[in-house]
């Protein structure tokens, strides 16, 4: 089918306001936050902005009948190129569709459309003393649909886990336009083991199996109190050792984050008022719950950390906590501050490794940075072994680009060698699919088989995930 005809048909279906067809407009959809799309942007054939299941069905049916690729997209804050139509196709921008359909507080559930922003959802739930616990650094801009598609998590995964643990059921538009309800989408129950678990299959499927159009989420009671301990280390090995000792003391913090020396420098340059001390590593350990338990655990953590750390600060003052936590949450992009003429890039940024090997891996990554002459900033969710590495380069210098691509390749291989994974929470998309065989072996064939069942024509976000 001619490009012109595809565009005309889409406009006929959804109306002029919900379809972008001008070449210039389509260029804006050629990127996400990945370094890959800086190097290889992928312009779609058309962009549609549906706001109903029926509209999604119409577009998908049309694509199915005409063998046109379909790529779902949330806020485009992903770091894997997962929402990019690299070889053309129809991008479904679902970020407009941000309805909170129902808050069922008496059953601790909420039903949302895919475009709801994570932070807005939690604002709405807060009125009922509820919250949706996964807490990505991009909370202010990422969509819940994107979180489901990538099985995202974030800073509090150590206690609250990943998105998949909160999905009770989904409405999914399949490749032929049919609508499938999974799990408890039409029920109001929390426990449900009936049938094969297609909900879990869909969570983290990155748009290769279908388009998620409605989500029933489980909510949790919102903790009444929080506190943050900041422990400062002169010796890198002492940081993961403290984490283990906190666990061994029977304490499960809601977040345990690490910033290495380069990340500390980046945060201080970005926001000097945060004033993190110079050190080899800093741990930020958050506990939440009821006030007496927060006090008890905070004091216990301060005592445990104090045995190894140069200093420990325990804060329950909301202002100070916000500063400490903000310091961590801005590290991702503040990393660029370590080099005046540089920019951090999102590549090799999400490896997951065993807790017992965190210090070794951080040192190995620094050594790789030295080998290629590239500054790297390391930070991440040490409580669950998820390390975010930020290489800082001049992305417009071809030599540096060449080197950094080798560096991130080695980081991915390092993760696999250390019995880890190439991605802990950001997903695979286009940037990590080359490691699928190495990570999963025979399982990849079964993944492909599943895709074939759901998407016999191969139109759903092809060349992603595996």
């Amino acid at each position: 089918m001619e490009v012109k005809d595809i565009r005309n048909q889409l406009v006929k279906m959804l109306g002029r306001d919900k379809v972008l067809t001008e070449e210039l407009d389509l260029m804006y959809y050629s990127y996400d936050s990945s370094f890959l799309t800086k190097l290889e942007p992928g312009k779609p054939t058309a962009v549609v902005l549906p706001t109903s299941t029926e509209e999604v069905q119409k577009v998908v049916r049309f694509a199915y009948e005409n063998d046109i690729v379909i790529v779902p997209r949330g806020a485009g804050t992903g770091e894997t190129g997962g929402c990019i139509a690299f070889k053309g196709g129809i991008v479904l921008d679902l970020s407009n569709w941000d309805e909170i359909v129902e808050i069922d507080a008496s059953n601790m559930q909420v039903i949302v459309r895919p475009g709801v922003i994570h932070a807005r959802l939690n604002e709405a739930l807060a009125k009922y003393n509820l919250f949706f616990p996964p807490d990505p650094g991009s909370s202010q801009m990422c969509t819940v649909g994107g979180m489901v598609a990538n099985n995202a998590s974030g800073l509090r995964a150590v206690k609250y886990g990943c998105t998949e643990q909160y999905i009770l059921g989904l409405e999914v538009v399949l490749s032929n336009g049919d609508v499938m309800m999974t799990g408890g989408m039409n029920a109001r129950v929390i426990k449900n083991v009936s049938g094969l678990n297609l909900t879990k299959l869909m969570v983290g499927s990155e748009g290769v199996l279908g388009i998620i159009t409605q989500i029933r989420l489980r909510c949790w009671p919102k903790p009444k109190a929080r506190g943050i301990a900041m422990a400062v280390y002169d010796n890198l090995d002492d940081a993961p050792a403290t984490v283990l000792e906190v666990y061994q003391a029977g304490i499960l913090p809601s977040g345990i984050e690490i910033l290495d020396s380069s990340a500390i420098m980046a945060v201080n340059q970005f926001k000097p008022e945060i004033n993190l001390p110079d050190a080899e590593a800093i741990l930020l350990i958050e506990v939440d719950g009821n006030p007496p338990s927060v006090d008890y655990e905070g004091n216990a953590i301060a005592e445990i950390a104090g045995q190894r750390a140069r200093s420990v600060e325990w804060a329950t003052d909301p202002k100070r906590m916000a500063e400490l936590w903000e310091g961590r949450s801005v590290t991702a992009t503040a990393a660029a501050r370590v080099r005046a003429d540089g920019s951090r890039i999102f590549a090799g940024e999400d490896i997951s490794i065993p807790l017992s090997k965190v210090a070794d891996v951080l040192r190995a990554i620094r050594a790789l940075g030295n080998k290629y002459g590239i500054k790297v900033v390391n930070y991440g969710h040490i409580g669950d072994g998820n390390v975010h590495t930020a290489p800082v380069i001049n992305p417009e210098n071809p030599e540096e680009v060449e080197k950094v691509l080798q560096l991130v390749h080695e980081i991915h291989l390092l993760a696999i060698e250390m019995q880890g994974s190439t991605t802990g929470e950001h997903g695979v998309g286009a940037v990590r699919r080359q490691y699928a065989e190495l990570e999963h072996g025979l399982a990849v064939e079964y993944m492909k088989g599943i895709k074939q069942t759901f998407d016999p024509k191969g139109i759903m976000n092809p060349e992603k995930l595996f």
Binding site: L20, E22, L24, D25, M27, Y28, Y29, Y31, D32, S33, T37, K38, V47, L49, A75, G76, T77, D93, S95, N96, I117, A119, S138, Q140, M141, C142, F270, V330, A332, T333, A334, A336, R337, D341, S343, R344, I345, F346, N394, P395, E396
Partner: protein
């Protein structure tokens, strides 16, 4: 300087990691809601321009000019990118390749000549009174002007006969002992639309011991030119004003217009005149320049006189983007409000969100501007204030229209209007405080 060599274009584009933080704060994105309106999208498009992947044409300009230049994205960008400067630089580049007679008429011939601009304003006033404006509308004259002007013209109301400049002297001695010699940058909008503010500003400053110099040859600060792609004109206006004010031996330079104070700031002077011969003079100028609210609270540390005439009034404050975002000034106006006898200050939610006025934006993008305004008005009305106070003539025009549009029975005033009665009531030769 070539487009590619401009500092923001050369140094900052590569820093954008497209994290999308800007999507969450942009008032325009909140309305348009697709990626073409995202500030990171504008950075991307400027990069495409720089790299020659897209042509510097009207189609690109149309997309870039959906941006208000409110700087909300810039102050929230974790990578520290001055997104508004990139956008302004691109507008200028596109304009250079696509000059327009209408824009030259408005921004080069009219808006660079204060006298002519004032005459035109008077004509506009006369036109309103005599019905010529209706005639112009009837013959479609307004249609040749840019954007949504035919709908936006209803915003033009009450243009005073006498300009501000005609009501203040060039040299106004301090009342009592002189503390400072202050240059008053009387901006176009205050001059034309709010002459009473100009008069009162001089009264307030002189009462507090300032000799106030109002240079007769002050020209526009250049903000409208920056927004409309006339960067070269903005540069020459800035250079002119720097020379004029530097020719006096001034301790400070103040202005009661938030947009003007942003234009006079170190950051904007660097943006416009950095790397040019006049840079050092411009830096010396901008070191002395500040918003009136900052000068009154932080330098003069005023106590408002004549408190016994105070009447209780509940007010709320709107942060002009050019004050809160461009200069980071949020505390000074609130502090000043607290010092005004009788004022009960109530903070509105998101007081620093843009009102959608943004100079000529309310004319060129009227419908979009109204959507942004409506959100602002909802939050302002929630406060129950009887006066909505700010310090930017463009915001005042927009918010006034918003109050009418929402049938809100509150008055929109400049902060100087609140101060003014306390100084009018003073004897002419009052001692300096």
């Amino acid at each position: 300087m070539e487009f590619k060599e401009l500092p923001p274009v050369k140094d900052q584009i590569m820093k954008c990691v497209r994290c999308g933080k800007c999507r969450s704060v942009c008032p325009v994105f909140a309305e348009i809601r697709n990626e073409t309106a995202a500030p990171r999208g504008h950075v991307f498009m400027v990069q495409m321009l720089r790299d020659g992947i897209v042509e510097p044409d009207e189609a690109v300009a149309e997309r870039l000019t959906t941006c208000l230049l409110c700087e909300t994205c810039s102050v929230n960008c974790p990578s520290g990118i001055d997104i508004h400067e990139l956008n302004a630089a691109a507008r200028s580049y596109i304009y250079e390749k696509n000059p327009s007679l209408a824009k030259e008429l408005v921004f080069d011939s009219l808006w660079t000549r204060p006298g002519l601009l004032r005459t035109s304003t008077k004509f506009l006033w006369g036109a309103q009174k005599t019905g010529l404006q209706s005639l112009a509308r009837a013959i479609g004259l307004t249609k040749i002007l840019p954007g949504d002007l035919p709908r936006a013209e209803r915003m033009l109301t009450n243009v005073p006969v006498r300009s501000g400049r005609s009501q203040v002297s060039e040299i106004n001695p301090a009342r009592g002992e002189r503390k400072y010699r202050v240059g008053y940058f009387l901006g176009c909008a205050t001059d034309m639309f709010h002459p009473s503010v100009a008069r009162a500003t001089v009264d307030i400053l002189t009462w507090h011991g300032c000799e106030v110099i109002v240079p007769r040859d002050t020209k526009c600060c250049g903000q409208p030119h920056i927004a409309n792609g006339k960067m070269e004109t903005a540069r020459s206006l800035a250079a002119h004003n720097v020379k004029i004010f530097n020719s006096y031996d001034l301790d400070y330079i103040v202005t009661d217009c938030a947009s003007c104070s942003a234009a006079l700031s170190h950051k904007n002077m660097k943006f416009l005149l950095g790397g040019l011969k006049i840079e050092d003079q411009a830096m010396a100028f901008s070191e002395k320049a500040m918003d009136l609210t900052v000068f009154l609270t932080e330098v003069l540390d005023i106590e408002v006189p004549n408190a016994e005439i105070a009447r209780k009034v509940k007010v709320t404050w709107h942060d002009p983007c050019h004050l809160a975002n461009a200069q980071g000034v949020k505390q000074a106006p609130r502090e000043l409000l607290k010092r005004i006898p009788g004022v009960e200050f109530v903070e509105m939610a998101n007081a620093n969100s843009c009102c959608g006025g943004s100079g000529t934006y309310c004319i060129t993008h009227h419908d979009l501007s109204m959507k942004i305004l409506d959100k602002k008005m909802e939050r302002a009305m929630e406060t129950g204030a009887s006066k909505l106070v700010t310090c930017c003539p463009s915001c005042i025009m927009q918010l006034n229209f918003g109050a009418q549009r929402h049938k809100w029975n509150a008055e929109v005033v400049h902060i100087v209007d609140l101060l003014s009665p306390f100084y009018k009531a003073l004897p002419k030769k009052a001692a300096s405080q």
